[in-house]
Amino acid sequence: MLGNGVKRKLDEDEDGLEEHRGLVGDGGAGPGGLSQASYTLQRQTVLNMSLMKLYGPRTGADLGLRRRVLINNVVRRIHDDFRQEGAVGAFFFSVPSAAPAAAPEDESCRQPPPSPPSFGVLSSPLSALDSCLTPASLLEDDLPLFFTLPPSSSSPSSHHHLHHSPRPPPPSPSPKDSFSSALEEIEELCPPSSPPPAVVKEEARGSQEEESWLYKLRLPSPSLPPLPPARLGPADASPSSPGSFLTDFALDDVLFTDIDTSMYDFGPCPAPSGAAPSKMADELVRSMSGYGAAAAGASGQNQPFKMDLAELDHIMEVLVGS
């Protein structure tokens, strides 16, 4: 990727892209207009570039919100494209729609840069590139923020768990602390049966953005859509191709399990009302463990990011074919 304002080096740089560039740019780049393979390759090229822009080294403040939103929409669009091509495509290439959420200047997004729901259930299978682009450390950092409702519970708990030490009794959060007030709000928002997401939305809109981070915390519990059954089945995690991409899930597995228990122990919702969220979490954990197993079973270690385009193409062929 060339920097902003750096002169293009048309000839040296992208021999592979060059031939497809005209086609991509030509506007008529609908799937019908081109051979399926080259269209797929183009799409993958654009997706690679987009992900590099969003998660690459030059992200952060110099990425304006407009740019980030536009790039993210490109990714979404390609994602939709995959989804239209069939469940398999959608499964492997669902991409977190995290870009706008990463806006550094936005108060509501000061929490985890890759948005929790998009990482979690909604698009848990990170795409091939994405799993390479998002280092495990980053995921680790984000997860506690995502799942931890009480901060006192999650980070220490995960810490202890990792060290196989007995869990300390739940610390009672001070009532003045903002997190506990957040918890109260979450409790209020957690009726026995999960409410329609619209209600939550309404509520969140009503409250000012200063509180919208709360909404973020609420998200994982009540408003999670049920997991598509296809994602849970072991048959789905097509052992051969996808497994090799899901390299970082061994670590995540630990984290997820851990967080799951923490949710049982310190769950924001008391037993009667907390049933739904913890069930969701449980499902989540199971689904993730499924992936983890797939990942563990697969040979793939850290794939180099610059994957050969031909190889990608081949993979796409396989996926589309199957």
């Binding site: 990727m1 060339l2 048309l10 992208e14 740019g25 654009v46 536009l70 706008p100 200047e105």
Partner: protein, 452 residues
Amino acid sequence: VSYWHINNTFAWCETAACVRVCACVCVSDIISTVEFNHTGELLATGDKGGRVVIFQREPESKTEPFSQGEYNVYSTFQSHEPEFDYLKSLEIEEKINKIRWLPQQNAAHFLLSTNDKTIKLWKVSERDKRPEGYNLKDEEGRIKDISTVTSLQVPVLKPMDLMVEVSPRRVFANAHTYHVNSISVNSDCETYMSADDLRINLWHLGITDRSFNIVDIKPANMEDLTEVITAAEFHPHHCNLFVYSSSKGTLRLCDMREAALCDKHSKLFEEPEDPNARSFFSEIISSVSDVKFSHSGRYLLTRDYLTTKVWDLNMESKPLETYQVHDYLRSKLCSLYENDCIFDKFECAWNGSDSVIMTGAYNNFFRMFDRNTKRDVTLEASRESSKPRAVLKPRRVCAAGGKRRKDDISVDSLDFTKKILHTAWHPTENIIAIAATNNLYIFQDKLNSEMH
């Protein structure tokens, strides 16, 4: 080679002495905005270093008829300084994003300048006389000994060297979470608005601690965010109307009489997407980078990546006119996406009579389109090719594979680091200001100026 014509025959030539000379391209010298005041007598530029430079047009002299129209530096001041937001751990650049002049109401001039977060109101006034001959004070202002005063005289104003004073009058801070991209002074001359990526605020020019949010497109959940505000402007005559453009290529006209919060637009201007032209970059290239009301208030001029469009306020379904700025780049979008040029925000401008529009392009080229004759021209702003008073030669870019004439520039040799993003047109005359990285070019329609 035929020169381009507007109304009557004329060609653009550069006026002298106003090119800012800087041997090295310092980043802080890169011009980030250009704006004429309402009479065209003054021209303000802002740069990445937070400075504002004001140029003044020289008054016509009888001995040198050509000197009329030349702009010379009038005043320079530091408008914004780099800051650091400790709460959010963010650096706030000092770069001047926009400058807007207030209509002149007395001898002083006022302008608004903004960086990403803070808008400032500046007073620019000049002093060229000083009172002399006080009876009780001496030249230095010390009280004289009464006993030495033997006669009385009438104090007089004596001319002195012109002194331009610039003083900050108001600082409008802490109202924008995102980056301010537009400010626009209302025709009521009492209020103005400031737009960032997701919100538009309405201010009173005299009140700094309060503003009213008139548009808010921030979704409750930032993951649902797919659209941002890219520019906004008040109607030139109706103080209740304003327009804002979005990254999805739409324009929304809002009427502040309808509701305090203009979340619902009065009119939505949008061109349906051509399904045949759909590509991965359709949305990016349709993102509106600038919107300007015509002086008459009847039309809207917008700029997107490849085209500039004129909309009639009475027709929402499609633009009245669409002009291709650099259609030859359509086959290069993938490269332009890769090197981020596709996100460049080109501005656009009307001439004084709303009959010609102007906008920038790459390779220090800028384009003009005559709406009546449908003729267009590509001109180049560069020091190498233009000397003072030299007549600009129209340039031509030949698309890849096209027939190449002598002097044509091929698409592949365009320099994408030389881009003309900011342009301004004198409010009544054919004088234009072009910002090309750290150089400001002022061109004038030659025949027109000779007629003066």
